[in-house]
Amino acid sequence: MTSTSLTTGRSWRPSLSRRHVPVLATLTLLLVMYGIGVSQYRAFSNVQVIFNVFIDNGFVLVVAVGMTFVILTGGIDLSVGAVVAMTAMVSAALLRDGMPAALVLVIALLIGPILGFLMGCAIHFFDIQPFIVTLAGMFFARGMCTFISGASISITDGFWTGMSQERIGNPAGNFVSISVLIAFAVVLVAAYVLAYTRFGRNVYAVGGNAQSALLMGLPVGRTRIAVYTISGLCSAIGGILLSFYTLSGAPLIAVGMELDVIAAVVIGGTVLTGGSGYVFGTVLGVLVLGVIQTLITFDGSLNSWWTKIVIGGLLFAFILLQRLIGIRFK
């Protein structure tokens, strides 16, 4: 992706290809896993399998894009899973009370960014670690879920069911859902913002070295607050997509999702100390997780906990890789 335009942020490292090694490794891994799937199971080569990975992971993709922004600045956002659940919960509750769908969408899409903005402010103005602030945000959002309702609320609204059942596909019968298109739109916008806008460069600069960015006169505080707001917005969009997908809001949905998302971002080659990584890598990271799940489903004899062990192993492999090729060598 558009790497040449990004090198200015970190021009002290001349070897361009090194920055691409993690992303290329993820791509190779993805292709190898897909190859294994195709060679082992006949049905795996069906295009719909790939589409299903996107359909099942559309909301994860959106949330992971938001997390990429935060991690690029060297922060972390633990609240995403809870915000996703809260957004789905709020929309379900408001729809149940008979509010028009358009208004519900607006309200649901506002909650996440507002919470993200407040967390960003606490992180920037009071210098509290992002880890603790977003942890409190996670507790708050998760608490709000049960506060709204202890049981899951189903959604029967016409717009929601329409979005859920609409299939966009070709005559051969392969299709994607509208959620996938929304997720793609978010990915494209995010990739454009990071690569071509002033704000995107600020994000890389803050993550590379916040002190230097400040001395260069970049708006460090504004950038930092903005990335948490963006992450909140992405979580809110993810929550809406999840409510399209499940047609309900449940208080305990998406528990532990933040871990999957962070894992996807890291596997996608973004360095956790910030300053290096691509949205495209995050997309690959999410796909890797999705294909692992699909492979384990196809196998049938492996149990769901193998997913976690494999993800853990992959995390280890990729961090070791980042270490070996010496990105951000301290």
């Binding site: 407040l118 608490g143 049960t146 506060f147 208080p251 961090i319 270490r323």
Partner: protein, 356 residues
């Protein structure tokens, strides 16, 4: 409890004042809401009552938080403790459930030793990743946090292993000298860690490594070895906490055992005044922080609020305590008070900002 915190205040000065105050206020609020809150009675030679319950239930958290304090003091963080709780509990329960005589002390001791050994190995794995390979602590322990849940479920094969073993059950629910055994274990661990860190130079060395690992290496401290050590200690603490958690319910659940205990432990450490940046730590603050979290949970249960909603209160308390302790916030507050004298209006406003 009141006298305990009162006695701590002059000892530790201003640092523990706010956490202690929060605990006292919470206990007072409880006593007003439910006059019998502080009542402790003796039944068949054992002490019973809400304060004792709080102490007993906070024992696993205190243990995990003690290890976490040391890790955080070196500037690291250990996210894997919850998974380690699940793994150690699962291994111990598996061994006991497969043994011929689950009630024999030797079976239980073997199970404990086995699980403890595995936990030490996993702690060493964390230590190697951080100290030798040099991976960021948060991500190095994230590996085991994600994979560990899978390993725990692998051990239990996705089932909940139920055991019927008196000696093992005693770890969580037994009594010794009228007090629940769990409290005594946590107390012993706290005293042991305190003795090793505050009565020897170890604590100072840990703090110096957290302050600046490179500088302390140049000063002749084997900082890598210290970093490695704290992750092993943290894993050991997590293992014992895992025994308690599983003994409480006499069963091991790979999914639920020790879930989110790492977050609670980090909160306890932060509430206790240990900076996440490393370089200094306060063991008494950590114990106080763990007690605050457990008192809050118990309070919320007693008020008939659903356990999940208690997270709302936790969020408010966490942000309030962190804000009060944040140097940037204090500086602002002090500046304003010197200028316009608006009194305590500032912290109030910040507290309200969170749930908005």
């Amino acid at each position: 409890m009141n006298t305990l915190t009162d006695r701590l205040r002059p000892l530790t000065g201003h640092r523990l004042f706010w956490p202690a105050l929060v605990l006292v206020v919470m206990i007072l609020a409880n006593t007003v809401y439910r006059p019998g809150f502080l009542a402790v009675e003796v039944k068949s030679g054992h002490l019973y009552g809400t304060p004792i319950d709080i102490l007993r239930l906070s024992a696993p958290l205190i243990l995990v938080a003690l290890g976490m304090t040391l890790v955080i003091a070196t500037g690291g963080i250990d996210l894997s403790v919850g998974s380690l709780c699940a793994i150690s509990g699962a291994i111990a329960c598996l061994h006991i459930s497969e043994a011929a005589d689950p009630n024999s002390p030797s079976t239980v001791l073997t199970a404990l030793a086995l699980a403890f050994g595995v936990a030490l190995v996993l702690g060493a794995w964390n230590g190697v990743l951080v100290a030798v390979i040099g991976i960021q602590p948060i991500i190095a322990t994230l590996i085991l946090m994600v994979a560990g849940r899978g390993i725990a479920q692998l051990v239990t094969e996705g089932q909940i292993i139920t055991i019927n073993s008196e000696p093992y059950r005693a770890i969580g629910l037994g009594h010794f000298l009228t007090l629940p055994l769990a409290i005594l274990i946590a107390l012993a661990a706290a005293l042991l860690v305190a003795a090793f860190t505050r009565r020897t130079a170890l604590g100072l060395i840990v703090e110096s490594v957290g302050g600046n690992a490179e500088a302390s290496r140049l000063a002749g401290i084997r900082s890598r070895r210290i970093v490695f050590l704290v992750y092993v200690v943290s894993a050991a603490c997590a293992a014992i906490a895992g025994f308690m958690v599983t003994a409480n319910v006499s069963s091991a659940d790979g999914n639920a055992a020790g879930l989110w205990i790492e977050l609670d432990a980090i909160l306890a450490v932060v509430i206790g005044g240990t900076s996440l940046a490393g370089g200094r730590f306060s063991l008494s603050g950590t114990v106080l922080g763990a007690l605050i979290i457990q008192t809050l949970t118990t309070t919320v249960y007693a008020m008939n609020i659903s356990p999940q909603t208690s997270l709302l209160f936790k969020a408010v308390v966490v942000i309030a305590v962190c804000l009060v302790q944040a140097p940037a916030f204090r500086a602002r507050f002090r500046r304003r008070r010197r200028g316009v004298e608006p009194g305590p209006a500032t912290p109030q406003r910040e507290k309200e900002q969170v749930p908005a």
